[in-house]
Amino acid sequence: MMQNNNENFLHSAGIENAPLLECRNLCKSYGAVPVLYNWNITITKGRVVGLLGPNGSGKTTLIKLINGLLTPTSGEVLICGNSPGVESKKVISYLTDKDALDSSMKVVDMINLYNDFFEDFSEVRMYEMLKRLDIHPETKIGTLSKGNREKVRLILTMSREAKLYVLDEPIGGVDPAARDYILDTIIKNYTPESSILLSTHLISDVERILDDVIFVSNGQITLAEAADNIRAQGKSVDQLFRETYRF
């Protein structure tokens, strides 16, 4: 099993940059069952990081830990130096895997909600992207097609000028056109001051936009490397992944 290698993520950053995300000896167990074991990760700013692994490997658990939906059994997770809490939630923009929107609300209601609670929400950006999607703000969320719902959720998330974007399976279950739109939006909204943590099992669709990749399996990190470094060895990230996780 390969050692995970922190230094790769620091190669683009100076020493003065505090990491956006840091996990130190992070462990999570449900009772006696360990779900996440001894994670050490550092993500600096300006990176698009892929969290790749089969379902049940611990990706969702990490994401919940980052967002304060779970508390660690031991070790710690820090976002811009803060433990998950009110301060960290101000700088994290989280796109959930499951659709958690209230179908009876209108799009504009969600926009107002985000606008009220998140200082870094850009209404201008949101309405711009909404217009390009040709969706009217007064539309009830329940009447949107599945693809449009996913897009609205994404642009809500990306309209925030957050430090860390956490996207959980952003392209799961959408048609190729919607997928292209989503990847396009993710690329376009990149800033050197923020980073994106993207969790997925659809690696071949997504690997082109990743700077760095983390392989996860059975609750442990098996690889943490820059994507092009993997490709320099003659394999795509997807290929390496399949080889690693072949039965």
Binding site: S12, G46, R47, V48, D180, L183, D184, I187, K188, Y190, S204, E207, R208, I209, L210, D211, A227, D228, N229, R231, A232, G234, K235, S236, V237, D238, Q239
Partner: protein
């Protein structure tokens, strides 16, 4: 611009190659402004850092220059140094020729025969109006 990215080779290298080809073929004219990193990355559907790395490589090869020498973020332009572009074109031609000659020779053709094959083929193309 059409991109052809394979994920089993470092992407930044492929971007350099394809951008270079576009510059040489005149898809971007000398002195013309280069689209922003963001637009290029979105067009190629690749990571911005990767595109940035490719552009920096092209800069170090002298093929593109920052618009304003004092401030890189102002954008980039294609070099007007046609000699440099010719140089790169010549290099590319060399790579293609290397592979070409090797394969022609493996057919058993002599160097003179190779040249006459090429001349004949080209005049045929020209007479067909291509």
């Amino acid at each position: 611009m059409t991109w052809n990215i394979n994920c089993d080779r470092p992407i930044w290298i492929q971007l350099v190659e394809q951008l270079q080809a576009a510059l040489i073929s005149g898809e971007f004219k000398p002195g013309e402004a280069v689209p922003s990193v963001r637009d290029l990355a979105a067009d190629a559907q690749v990571n911005i850092n990767t595109m940035q790395r490719a552009l920096q490589e092209l800069e170090s090869r002298g093929l593109i220059l920052p618009k304003d020498n004092r401030w890189r973020a102002s954008g980039r332009v294609v070099t007007e140094d046609t000699a440099r572009l010719d140089e790169i074109r010549h290099e590319y031609a060399g790579t293609i020729l290397e592979d070409f000659t090797q394969r022609m020779r493996s057919l058993g053709l002599s160097d003179d025969e190779i040249v006459s094959e090429v001349t004949e083929y080209l005049s045929k193309l020209n007479s067909n109006g291509e």
